[in-house]
Amino acid sequence: MGDKKKQKLTPEQQQYQQLEQKHELKRPVVKNCIKAFLVGGTICLIGQAITYFYIYFFNFTEQTAGNPTVATMIFISMLLTGFGIYDHIGQFAGAGSAVPVTGFGNSVISAAIEHRTEGFVLGVGGNMFKLAGTVILFGVFSAFIVALVKTLLTMMGVL
């Protein structure tokens, strides 16, 4: 909590918040990091295995195998979400299962499942990207900025 926010609190509120802090359970950060590392690593290992599967059995090179791998991983995470397993993985792994592309698939499909009682157009269609929408927006926006910077640098002859 920033100091700026603290200033707005009355002394009574500050005193209470100090008292409350004592009882508050802290997130076990180190433990969470280790879990995230292990689960995230396992997800990447599976992804690597799928990549090699595509290289061995299909006409994909290391470079082009990325696309079908991502699609497969998202598909798997969608199935896991639908069967109600992914949220349990998420509670255990935290960032480990949220950061890989599977987390993106999960955020899309969980929102779609959640709102299917409101119908396909306004429910599923309108809410599917409720969580993933920001990822897409800021992902595209930052890609645009990076591309712009690179183009300018190339034009100026720096790169």
């Binding site: 707005k8 609190l9 009355t10 009574e12 509120q13 209470y16 918040q17 008292l19 409350e20 009882h23 508050e24 359970l25 802290k26 997130r27 076990p28 969470n32 979400t81 639908g82 109600g84 992914y86 949220d87 993985i89 998420g90 509670q91 792994a93 935290g94 960032a95 299962s97 949220a98 987390g103 999960n106 955020s107 499909i109 969980s110 929102a111 499942i113 959640e114 709102h115 009682t117 409720k130 969580l131």
Partner: protein
């Protein structure tokens, strides 16, 4: 009768004639499964949306409470109910089914005691002979509104709480035959307390000062000691909120023993259930009181209890706009006659 600053004493001692609770699959695995009248093994409960299942829970609890004393819904003069969903539709839609004159209440998770206090007040002053009051919540419906989608794999911090899927309802009457029945003797209406906390994943910490404020006011208004009660039970403070409230009460000089002070949100689930800090939701205090606690009173385990239901009066909009969480608590004293 008004007593002190913010309390009512019910001289005519309204009777809690019957009570019933219903719950979902997660509650069926919990500590108090035996005290639920109806338990579902499916969150959908045979309905096609969670909101309908939510309404269904309340209807079942009300019907079951009525059946126990052979009353029909036509015998009820008023119904007081509420929940956490937008515009309290599950309760209002249940009232449409029931066709009982209806007050819709919103006090977040404190709705159960708000309802019981008002029902007792109405009955005490002959505003009605028989009323029914209840509160409910449904995990999936409430999480959908306040948090992320239920299947979303976000990590909940250890301060988070699990919304109870459950409903509780009680029939409050002016029956002159009060022997062996629980009666409401007094109620304290809380004021909104805001200590500036703004983390929606730590409701217990936000609600603790409201609970403490109401409990302190209760003892001051009625001029009694905490030892008067066998049990002081809070609604859904959870682990953190309960510890904090206990410390606040001690600081204020109230002499409450640790065993005397419990929390519905901690009673309802087993320790090994993944609920982080405990249960929460309007259905939490309602289903525990109108099930476990009143059953225990009937068995003679407790004679006098003070139920303090706490509510966090936030909306998904207000916390996204970085507003702090205002909280409230209402207390009702229940005694065996």
């Amino acid at each position: 009768m008004l007593i002190g600053r913010q309390s009512w004493q019910f001289a005519n001692r309204p009777v809690i004639e019957s009570w019933a609770s219903s719950g979902g699959p997660f509650e069926a695995e919990g500590n108090l499964a035996a005290d639920f009248d109806i338990l579902h093994d499916d969150l959908w409960m045979g309905q096609d949306s969670y909101e309908k299942a939510h309404r269904h829970l309340l209807e079942e609890a009300i019907n079951s409470a009525l059946q126990k004393v052979n009353l029909s819904k036509e015998d009820m003069h008023f119904m007081l109910a509420g929940d956490l969903i937008n515009q309290i539709t599950p309760s209002s839609f249940a009232a449409r089914t029931m066709q009982i004159p209806y007050f819709g209440l919103f006090g977040a998770c404190s709705t159960s005691m708000e309802g019981l206090a008002l029902a007792s007040f109405i009955v005490n002053y002959q505003g009605a002979k028989k009323t029914i009051t209840g509160a409910s919540s449904h995990n999936s419906a409430v999480e959908k509104q306040f948090r992320y989608p239920t299947e979303y794999g976000g990590q909940k911090p250890p301060t988070a709480q699990w919304t109870v899927t459950g409903a509780g309802a009680a029939v409050v009457t002016d029956n002159p035959d009060k022997s062996g029945k629980p009666v409401t003797t007094s109620a304290t209406i809380g004021k909104v307390v805001d200590m500036g906390l703004s983390d929606p994943f730590n409701m217990g910490g936000a609600m603790a000062p409201a609970a403490a404020d109401t409990i302190i006011s209760h003892f001051k208004d009625l001029n009694i000691e905490p030892s008067y009660y066998d049990l002081i039970v809070t609604g859904d403070l959870g682990r953190i909120g309960q510890e904090t409230t206990y410390e606040l009460l001690h600081q204020s000089g109230l002499n409450i023993t640790r065993n005397q002070f419990q929390d519905c949100g901690l009673l309802i689930y087993k320790d090994d259930q993944p609920v982080q800090s405990g249960g929460s939701g309007a259905g939490c205090s309602a289903s525990v009181l109108y099930g476990h606690l009143l059953n225990q009173m009937k068995k003679g385990v407790y004679n006098r209890i003070l139920v303090v239901a706490t509510g966090a009066l936030l909306s998904p909009l207000s916390f996204q706009q970085k507003e702090s969480i205002p909280c409230i608590a209402h207390a009702v004293s229940i005694e065996m006659n």
